[in-house]
């Protein structure tokens, strides 16, 4: 087990910069998720750590050891590939024992460790089979077993669940979590699935265009996205955005969205005052909007465009002035398209972003007494 440190790592493919001067420290025993849309450089980052790609620039340390120039075999890593890469010409047992054989571990011990790993992944029944006789989920387990049997300092996984069907994915996700708790290896886990990231990660590094745009605890990534990009990428549905003009009136500050105005919670007041007259982006998550079936003073009037019953909740698409918002509300009563409702926003869940840069305005520390809604 070891800490991983990336210093100014850069990897280019011709003109494409896949990893752009990334600095990242992953703590010993941590489960770090690299999350981002397809093509943002997650796999390349992982492969640089593995040594399958040589970084053009920068240094990589595993457990304080500079591994920048070392081949994969000498980095103390193990990797689970997206396609599993289970050797088709070897049995499950031979697959799992492959790395130990390369290390010239005695046969007796290999057998013992292979059996242990197989048991841990519940594939001990399959040891004599060939990969062609396995299902996708079983192959995936073989790939994981093959990696952990090495007792690596660092475990790298590249979208290991993306080729599984939804149910299996859910199940495997829980197993990986259990496995990490039991084995405790420093793990870097690549995914483009934000639900996986939120459920598995000790921390999430959100990537965009080869850079890490936010590195935080999952709840913070969800709750306090660092930019409109992160806010729009994480959560189903993604955060709602409204363009608003900051207007000062008397003591208070208002956000003017089309024909409506939002009263700003007290904690944002000072920060926004400085931006009077400017346009900011207001972000609010679907579940932080309250739906009123009757008239409520100060609510926004909205028309339901679509209503999707999702079992535990219903997801509304509503129109407010020129803007369209997603709203999550209780499943009952089911609303119909065309119905008019009133909306209020949960004030302390409002997030504000700079319109030019998309960066979040720092969320002020809440005052001892909570500010009211709306």
């Amino acid at each position: 087990m070891a800490e991983i440190r990336l210093e100014q790592v850069r990897k280019t493919f011709g003109r494409v910069v896949a990893v752009r001067d990334v600095d990242l420290t992953i703590e010993d025993g941590e489960f770090l998720v690299l999350l981002g849309p397809s093509g943002c450089g997650k796999t390349t980052t992982l492969r640089c750590i593995a040594g399958l790609e040589r970084a053009n620039r920068g240094r990589i340390f595993i457990g304080r050891r500079d591994v920048t120039g070392l081949p994969p075999a000498r980095r103390g890593i193990a990797m689970v590939f997206q396609s599993y890469a289970v050797f088709p010409h070897m049995t499950v047992a031979q697959n799992i024992g492959f790395g130990l054989r390369m290390r010239h571990v005695p046969r007796r011990q290999i057998q013992k460790e292979v059996e242990e790993a197989a048991e841990l992944l519940r594939i001990d029944e399959l040891l004599q089979r060939y990969p062609a006789q396995l299902s996708g989920g079983q192959r995936q387990r073989v790939a994981v077993a093959r990696a952990i049997v090495m007792k690596p300092q660092v475990l790298l996984m590249d979208e290991p669940l993306s080729n599984l069907d939804a149910l299996l994915r859910l199940q495997m996700r829980a197993e990986l979590k259990r496995l990490h708790r039991e084995v405790g290896t420093t793990t870097v886990y690549v995914t483009h699935d934000q639900v996986e990231a939120l459920s598995l990660g000790d921390r999430i590094a959100v990537m965009m265009d080869g850079t890490i745009v936010q590195l935080d605890h999952p709840s913070l990534v969800y709750d306090r996205p660092a930019s409109t990009f992160v806010a729009g990428f994480i959560g189903t549905p993604p955060m709602n955005f409204l363009e608003a003009t900051v207007a000062a009136r008397d003591e208070s500050v208002e956000l003017v969205v089309g024909e409506f105005t939002l009263l700003v919670p007290a904690l944002w007041r000072d920060q926004l005052k400085a931006r009077t007259g400017q346009t900011v982006i207001v972000g609010i998550r679907a579940e932080n909007i309250t739906v009123h079936h009757g008239p409520v003073p100060g609510s926004l009037a909205a028309t339901v465009l679509v209503s999707e019953p999702l079992g535990s909740q219903q997801l509304l698409t509503v129109q407010v002035g020129q803007d369209v918002l997603k709203v999550a509300t209780a499943p009952e009563p089911l609303l119909a398209a065309g119905q008019t409702v009133g909306l209020t926003l949960v004030g302390q869940k409002l997030r504000l972003f700079d319109k030019e840069t998309g960066k979040a305005l720092p969320v002020p520390a809440p005052p001892p007494s909570e500010g009211g809604t709306q």
């Binding site: 081949p71 075999a73 990797m79 396609s83 390369m102």
Partner: protein
């Protein structure tokens, strides 16, 4: 099934059978001729089916002057060609399949172009060069030009085979403690082996069948096709029939074993599945 569908299916299989017969019947007939009693071949009227089975024609051919030596020469040249072609071509096929490098596309197109080059004609100017290099009338000399002919095919087919072995398998081996070469030997090579065997057979047959260059570059050390070609003017009918039949045997065996790989060799694009 409607009557119309039935009719169409009948028509389809009629056409298929006719075409298949067009290919197979001449093969059957040469085999028949090779085992027809020798004298019967000269009779008129000559029955289509021979009166009996006879190995006299074949043994006459095999015992004719030069046949056995040329047979041995052919096998030697083909083996030499096979060895050289794979040794030179397979690494290139691997590089094209595995690496993205500057000039890769140019190299690939160059190979496709050499596949189209009338390589056997090069035998004529090579006479002079080979005499100077003391390769004229040697088996290794013939193998050299056969290698030049087979090389583009070997590169194409091996690159097709290696790109059928996922890169991740080798990478996985490397993360599990193998070196670059170790990963190749332990993972890529075993998986590519059947394909490589097919490539070897192709190469063998290319060399085995080649007649123009072999006939030009040899005088005493003739390969089988060169031997048959140069004896045509004086050879009796039975010699020709037996020779024709004898030459196609390895081809038939190889086609049966390696048919899956024909497409990699001749397909325009190098990609499997």
């Amino acid at each position: 099934m409607t009557f119309r569908q039935l009719q169409r299916r009948f028509l389809l299989y009629m056409v298929v059978v006719v075409i298949a017969l067009w290919v197979l019947v001449p093969l059957a007939l040469i085999a028949l001729a090779a085992f027809t009693p020798r004298l019967e071949l000269y009779q008129w009227p000559r029955p289509v089916l021979p009166s009996g089975f006879s190995t006299a024609t074949m043994s006459f051919f095999l015992r004719s002057y030069g046949t056995l030596t040329s047979l041995r020469n052919s096998a030697l040249v083909a083996l030499l060609t096979l060895g050289m072609t794979l040794a030179v071509g397979a690494p290139a096929g691997y590089a094209v399949a595995r690496y993205v490098f500057r000039g890769r596309e140019a190299f690939r197109i160059g190979i496709l172009m050499t596949r189209m080059f009338p390589t056997s004609l090069l035998a004529i100017p090579l006479i002079v060069t080979f005499i100077r290099w003391q390769l004229y009338d040697t088996l290794i000399g013939v193998a050299f030009i056969h290698t030049a002919m087979a090389l583009p095919f070997a590169v194409l087919i091996t690159s097709g085979i290696f790109s059928g072995v996922p890169k991740e398998l080798e990478e996985a081996a490397m993360t599990l403690g193998c070196s670059r070469l170790g990963a190749f030997v332990r993972v890529a090579l075993p998986l590519a082996l059947p394909g490589l065997a097919a490539a070897a057979m192709f190469t063998f047959v290319i060399s085995w069948n080649e007649v123009f260059a072999s006939a030009i570059l040899t005088v005493r050390n003739r390969t089988l096709p060169a031997q048959v070609l140069t004896s045509l003017e004086v050879a009796p009918l039975d010699f020709r029939f037996a020779g024709g039949f004898f030459m196609i045997i390895p081809a038939l065996i190889f086609m049966a074993l390696a048919r899956r790989y024909l497409f990699q060799m001749w397909g325009g694009a190098i990609s499997e599945r």
